[in-house]
Symmetry: C2
Subunit: 240 residues, 2 copies
C-alpha cells in the first residue's frame, strides 16, 4: 500500500509537467499538419484541425496550446528553482534547438537528397528533443541525482530516435486505417526518412538497436528500467 501511495504521489507531482509536454507535442502536430507545411487531412483517424475548423483557427489553437503548456508547467508544485529549470528545458526542447529547428530543416529538405547526418539532425531535433526533455524534466522534478537525470535524458534521446525510425517505417508499410493518418505520404513528398536512406530491413535493426541502447544506459546508471524498459520496447514493438 505504501509503495502504491508513493507511486501515486510521484505521478501526481509530475502531472503538470506531463500535460505540458503533451500539449507541446499536440501543438506541433497541429502546426505540422497545416497546408503550408505537411498538408495532412487526417490525424488520429479524424480530420485535422484545419480541415475541420479552418486554417486560422488551427494556427491559433496551436499557439494557444503552446502557451497553455508553459502556464500549466508554471503551476508545478515543486521547488521554484526546479520549476524554472523545467520551464527552461521545455522551451529549449520546443524551439530552434529542438522541435522547431528539426521541423525547419525537414521542410527545407523536402524534395532534396538528404544525407545521413541531416536525417539524424531532423529526427533528433523534431522528435528526440521533446522525448528527451520529458525524461529530463521528470527526472529533475522527481528528485533524481545528476547522473540519473543525465541517463534519463540519454535514454529519451535513444527511444526518441527509435520511435521516429519506427514512425518512418510505418508511414511506408501501413494502411491509413492502421495509422489514423495518410500512409505513404512521406514517400510521395520525397521526405527524408530512414527507409528511404537505409532501406526497411536496416531501418528496423537501427530502431531496435536505439531502443536497446536506451535500456542499457538506464541499467548502467541505477535507474529502474521496469516501466521505461517497456516503453522503449513499445516504441519499436509494432515493427516485429
Amino acid at each position: 500500500m505504501a509503495a502504491a501511495e508513493a507511486v501515486g504521489a510521484a505521478r501526481e507531482s509530475v502531472l503538470d509537467a506531463a500535460c505540458a509536454i503533451e500539449m507541446v507535442h499536440c501543438f506541433s502536430l497541429v502546426h505540422d499538419d497545416l497546408p503550408a507545411i505537411d498538408n495532412d487531412d487526417l490525424r488520429r483517424g479524424v480530420p485535422t484541425l484545419h480541415k475541420k475548423f479552418g486554417e486560422a483557427m488551427a494556427i491559433l489553437a496551436g499557439d494557444a496550446l503552446f502557451a497553455l503548456a508553459f502556464e500549466i508547467l508554471s503551476h508545478s508544485p515543486h521547488e521554484p528553482v526546479r520549476v524554472v529549470a523545467a520551464l527552461r528545458q521545455l522551451s529549449r526542447a520546443s524551439g530552434t534547438q529542438g522541435l522547431v529547428g528539426g521541423e525547419v530543416v525537414d521542410v527545407l529538405s523536402e524534395g532534396r537528397a538528404v544525407d545521413a547526418e541531416t536525417l539524424r539532425f531532423i529526427h533528433s531535433h523534431k522528435t528526440g528533443a521533446l522525448i528527451a526533455a520529458s525524461c529530463e524534466i521528470g527526472g529533475a522534478l522527481g528528485g533524481g541525482s545528476e547522473e540519473q537525470v543525465k541517463a534519463l535524458t540519454t535514454y529519451g534521446e535513444r527511444i526518441g530516435l527509435a520511435f521516429q525510425i519506427a514512425d518512418d517505417i510505418l508511414n511506408e508499410t501501413s494502411t491509413p486505417e492502421q495509422l489514423g493518418k495518410a500512409a505513404g505520404s512521406d514517400r510521395e513528398r520525397q521526405k527524408a526518412t530512414y527507409p528511404a536512406l537505409y532501406g526497411l530491413e536496416e531501418s528496423r535493426k537501427m530502431a531496435i538497436q536505439a531502443a536497446d541502447e536506451g535500456i542499457r544506459v538506464l541499467r548502467n546508471n541505477d535507474v529502474s528500467d521496469g516501466f521505461l524498459g517497456e516503453l522503449a520496447l513499445y516504441s519499436v514493438e509494432r515493427l516485429h
Copy 2:
C-alpha cells in the same frame, strides 16, 4: 552617478523579461500577418515574413520566437519564485486568456456587426493583456509592493486600450508610408474597430481618456509617472 548606476542595474535586471515580451509580440505579429489570418503583405515598411520566406517558415519562425521568449525569461537573474510567477504571467497573457483569445474572437468577428462589449474584449485581450503583463512582470521582478504591481497592471491595461484605439484610428486615417503597413485594411475587411463603432472623434476622446486614467492610477499608488507618463502620452500622441 549612484542614481544612474541604480537605474542601469534595474534596467539590466529586467532585460530578459523585456526581450521575452517583445518576442511574444513579434511572434503574434508574424502569425497575424499570415494569409489565413490577416493576409498582410507589409509590416514595418518591409514585406511580411511569409511574403519573403514562405508560409511554412513564417509559421515556424513564429513558433520559434514564442519558445525563445520563455527560454530567455527562464534565464532571468531574479529569485526563482519571482521568475516562475513572471513565466506564468507571460504564458497567461499570451494564450486563450490574453493574446490568442482576443485574436480568435477578432477572426470570428470579421464581416459581422460587433457590439461594444465584444470590441472591448478583443482589444483588451489582443493588445491589452501583453502590455498589462509587461507592466506586471516588470513591477514584480523589480520588487514593487503588491499595490504598486496592481497599479502598474491597471496602468498597462489602460494604455493598452489607448494604444489599440489609436492603432484603429491610424489604420483609418494614415497612408501606407506613414504606417509601414497597409492602411484602411481594417475597413476593407469589415473588421471591428473603435472608429467603425464610435466614429473618429469619439474614438480619439476615448483613447486620450484611457491614457489619462493610466497616469492617474500610477499617481494614486505612489508609482513614479515620469517615464510611464511619457509612454502613456506617446500611446496616443500621434492623434493630436
